[in-house]
């Protein structure tokens, strides 16, 4: 065990003849970053299926609010009592869908998988700075997962105050049954989860700063590493604040303090809480909650930059600007949180300040979009499933990002806040887009994960249905939102104004069912390919430049990644199609500058 934990700088000679690993040490309690990455990926995939299933269940309610489905009662029991989703279960599922997707899939599943897998492999390190802390990070996430999973089966119901758990609703079981044991387990799970994220984040940052191989200057790192590095920084700055807000909430619930509560009359009696302020919680929550969306989407941005460049056989356009725009997003992401609170009752002056930054953060995002478009311009785009998901990402990011300019405008927000417009906006820009980044990454690095390829045909089917389906699901929601339909409604039939979109809701639900079942094609492809996929026969199947493709095909059997010395880096990772007259259109990072390049003067 101890020899396994040798960090990057040691020669492989030390680790080559370590003791034979058992199944337990290799696949379960491993400290190898590659194994931990796969653990995060598989756990994330499990949660993505659960979260996706939940969304289908409550979408069925929204499309056919008055119908009954005995089949669903057979499958899901008391959630569908009488074949119809109960209001308690509806709000529980809505809450859990958000929690699972945002935290367990797009944070842990995303950063956990790609930071762990790609950072050491792409910067030329043998493992994380602290492999043991890294393993603990996964197992804390696992505990968080188990606690959250258990909370789904409570007889009193799961947490149902929304994933944003605004007090007082989340504090008072008499106001919402889910705020009893369900919320206790939710908060408990979140404590483990935050600890896990902080341990992971510390590790990612110190690995990038300390364990880069010889020649790997910061500005030679692939954009994936930059994105994952910045993501970890955002997480490290904002998760502790969520921790604080969660702990204060636990105090309010258990110790009867009044951080967030005051002047309450619930269940026929005046409560003794006094002096607190529910809006304080919103400030603390969104101090994480907003950066959180960048935690979800920034790794995808890095992945997309990398994969688009490799598959276009072209250097990513404006590498430095891509880094600076990521940095701009990092800085501004922690200055925009209160745009979730324009109509929360906070001082209107604050609204104007937060509007300024919320609009300006669109500048780095638009730079990135233009740079991606220029990256594929006059490229030679190999349409692999990974490349397609990247193109899909860019489309989703454009469509969802542009409505951010509406939402960020505080005055417009008065009309569309908490309507279906925001659902459309964030699902496109950080939900579907981040998922597309994840899919692209899996298709692209699967050969590195398992030494085999995923089936491309299944990948194409998966992509095209998911892509068109995602637009069919979320685009019509813009219309609903602009005409005023609020989110988190169990049924729209009580209001004349909201009831006119029945057909649209049926379209949305039908599309979401199709998209949900399409994801099984991906899952089947994934597990099938682990055992039966086409074998990887060359080290560098995509003809990419970055260091992970200089590791041997059987890298998963090697804790230390490179059997011999660590590679030395001489250039950035985007030298594609550099010389028109050369047969080979890529130059790996490990290749020293040629005479010709030295004469031309090398920028990178």
């Amino acid at each position: 065990m101890t020899t396994d934990t040798i960090p990057g700088q040691f020669s492989m000679a030390h680790t080559a003849h370590h003791h034979k690993q058992t199944f337990l040490t290799k696949y379960i309690f491993s400290t190898d970053h590659k194994t931990i990455a796969k653990q995060f990926l598989l756990t994330g995939m499990f949660w993505a299926m659960v979260g996706g299933l939940f969304s289908v269940l409550f979408r069925i309610q929204l499309a056919w609010p008055d119908a009954t489905f005995p089949l669903l009662e057979t499958l899901f029991g008391h959630w569908f009592e009488g074949g119809r989703l109960s209001t308690e279960a509806y709000y529980g599922l809505v809450t859990m869908h958000g929690t699972i997707m945002v935290f367990f899939v797009l944070t842990a599943g995303m950063s956990g998988t790609y930071s762990n897998f790609l950072i050491p492999l792409q910067i030329g390190a043998r493992d994380m700075a602290s492999p043991m802390v890294n393993a603990i990070s996964y197992w804390l996430f696992f505990i968080a997962s188990v606690v959250m999973l258990a909370s789904l089966f409570l007889p009193t119901g799961m947490a149902s105050a929304g994933w944003t758990i605004y007090p007082p609703l989340s504090v008072l079981p008499q106001a919402s049954p889910g705020s009893g044991m369900g919320m206790s387990l939710w908060l408990c799970s979140m404590v483990f989860f935050i600890a896990s994220q902080i341990m992971g984040g510390l590790n990612y940052i110190s690995t990038v700063l300390n364990l880069r191989t010889k020649g790997m200057t910061m500005f030679r790192m692939p954009l994936t590493v930059w994105a994952l590095f910045f993501t970890a920084i955002i997480g490290l700055l904002s998760f502790p604040v969520l921790f604080a807000s969660v702990v204060l909430l636990i105090f309010d619930r258990g110790l009867h303090t009044s951080f967030y509560l005051s002047d309450l009359y619930v269940g026929g009696q005046a409560l003794s809480y006094s002096g607190g302020n529910p809006i304080l919680f919103q400030h603390l929550f969104w101090f994480l909650g907003h950066p959180e969306v960048y935690i979800a989407v920034m790794p995808a941005m890095g992945i997309v930059s990398e994969i688009l460049s490799v598959n276009s056989r072209k250097p990513v356009f404006g590498y430095h600007m891509m880094v600076y725009s990521l940095l701009g997003i990092v800085v501004m992401s922690i200055l925009v949180w209160a745009h979730h609170m324009f109509v929360s009752g906070m001082n209107p002056f604050l609204g104007s300040v937060f509007m300024l930054f919320s609009m300006l953060i669109a500048v780095p995002s638009s730079i990135k979009v233009f740079n991606w478009l220029t990256t594929i311009w006059r490229g030679n785009i190999q349409m692999t499933p990974a490349a397609l998901f990247c193109l899909g990402f860019v489309s989703m990011f454009i469509s969802g990002g542009l409505t951010g300019i509406w939402m960020g405008n505080a005055t417009i927000d008065i009309q569309i806040h908490d309507t279906y417009f925001i659902i459309a906006h964030f699902h496109l820009v950080m939900g579907v887009a981040a998922f597309f980044g994840m899919f692209a990454g899996v298709y692209h690095w699967f050969p590195k994960f398992y030494g085999r390829f995923m089936n491309e045909t299944l990948g194409y089917v998966h992509f095209i249905i998911t892509f068109v389906g995602a637009y069919l699901i979320f685009w019509p929601m813009h219309y609903l939102g602009m005409s005023g339909v609020p989110r988190r409604y169990y049924s729209f039939h009580e209001f004349r104004a909201f009831a006119e979109y029945d057909n649209m809701n049926i379209l949305i639900t039908t599309a979401s069912i199709v998209v949900f079942f399409t994801q099984f094609i991906f899952v089947i492809n994934f597990f099938w390919s682990i055992y039966k996929g086409r074998k990887m026969k060359t080290m560098n199947p995509w003809e990419a430049n970055s260091l992970e493709w200089t590791t041997p095909i059987n890298v998963n059997d090697i804790h230390g990644n490179w059997p011999g010395d660590l590679p030395t880096v001489y250039r950035w990772s985007y030298d594609f199609s550099k010389f028109e007259d050369e047969e080979r259109d890529f130059i790996p990072q490990t290749e020293p500058l040629s005479q010709r390049e030295i004469e031309l003067g090398n920028n990178h």
Binding site: S176, P278, N455, F495, D585
Partner: protein, 326 residues
């Protein structure tokens, strides 16, 4: 049994898809790798472009057919300001949306892989990047200035002659209180709440004695500034009047407010919408528990004369309910 059949059918579909995928892979392995890549890139670029055309049509057609539903007539003064900002944003983002998405699909089709072509080595162009940093920045600053100006107008202090009403949220209904003849709302204290005084109004205060508390439709005059004092008893709610573009959270312990000037009476709106049953509706827009979706109240906007008449017919809650009981 039915369940089993459905499950079997679904599994069968997956098995077929998986085997087709495997077969295609086996066939493609016979081909030269580069030729295979060129062929599959053409096919996939075609499907991607086709999906772009399909989605373009879907978006274009639905915008055309749904237009009247999602750009509705705002029924308040500030609603018109918001509408104008929306139209400006719609035009700007709409143009960018069409251009960038078109370029994406077009480039994907035009620059798809061909085995005998080479990509252009084009790592940077500072001038271009400068342009697409400055242009969005300037555009956003214009939008920010327009937005901030209106934002402060919306949240300016209410005119002193504004009609005072109070809307208080609780699970799962609204309490509405009018200032009465003196147009002043008496103070409240949550510890005084009981079944005959559900809002906890302090009756000892003189200004509360003429307040009107009414569970019927909310009646308000047109073309008059109206100040809504907003509160909540138990959890956070949100006062949401979509037709007036009005939304403000109702937070227990933190009084909030929003003033607006309705410009269209209910009668007039019924004519505009050609819908004799139309009513303005008050909804809750902050998740407040299992009945969140069911907190409807009708708002009637009437002419000033009708409002004065209605007001004169109302009784003080204190006199009819509190005094009468004791």
């Amino acid at each position: 049994m039915q369940l089993l059949l459905i499950a079997l059918a679904i599994i069968l579909v997956y098995v077929v898809i998986a085997h087709v995928g495997k077969a295609v892979e086996l066939i493609s392995l016979i081909k030269d790798e580069k030729q295979r890549r060129e062929d599959s890139s053409r096919t996939q670029a075609f499907w991607f472009a086709a999906s772009g055309v399909f989605l373009g049509l879907f978006i274009g057609i639905t915008i055309f057919t749904e237009w009247h539903k999602f750009l509705t007539v705002p029924a308040s003064e500030h609603g018109k300001w918001i509408q104008s900002l929306i139209v400006v944003s719609l035009v700007i983002t709409g143009v960018v949306f069409v251009i960038t998405n078109f370029l994406l699909f077009y480039f994907a089709w035009k620059y798809r892989y061909r085995k005998n072509r080479k990509a252009l080595y084009y790592p940077e162009n500072n001038k271009l990047e400068f342009i697409w940093t400055i242009v969005p920045t300037v555009t956003f600053i214009i939008l920010i200035v327009m937005g901030v100006e209106k934002w402060f107008k919306v949240f300016s202090d209410a005119p002193t002659d504004a009609v005072q009403i109070e809307i208080t949220g609780k699970q799962f209904a609204w309490h509405v209180r009018y200032g009465g003849p003196d147009n002043e709302l008496g103070p409240r204290d949550f510890t005084l709440v009981n079944s005959s005084n559900e809002l906890g109004v302090k009756w000892t205060d003189k200004s509360s004695r003429d307040d009107i508390i009414d569970d019927d439709d909310i009646v308000l005059p047109v073309n008059t500034p109206i100040l809504i004092n907003i509160g909540a008893l138990d959890v956070i709610h949100s006062v949401y009047l979509p037709d007036f573009r009005l939304m403000m959270d109702a937070v227990p312990g933190v009084p909030t407010k929003f003033w607006f000037r309705p410009t269209i009476t209910t009668e007039k709106m019924r004519e505009i919408k050609n819908d004799p049953d139309f009513d303005y509706e008050l909804a809750c827009n902050q998740l407040c528990g299992t009945g969140h979706w069911n907190m409807r109240r009708v708002v009637k906007i009437v002419t000033e004369e009708e409002y004065k008449k209605w007001l004169s017919e109302q009784d003080s809650y204190f006199e009819t309910n509190i005094l009468a009981q004791n």
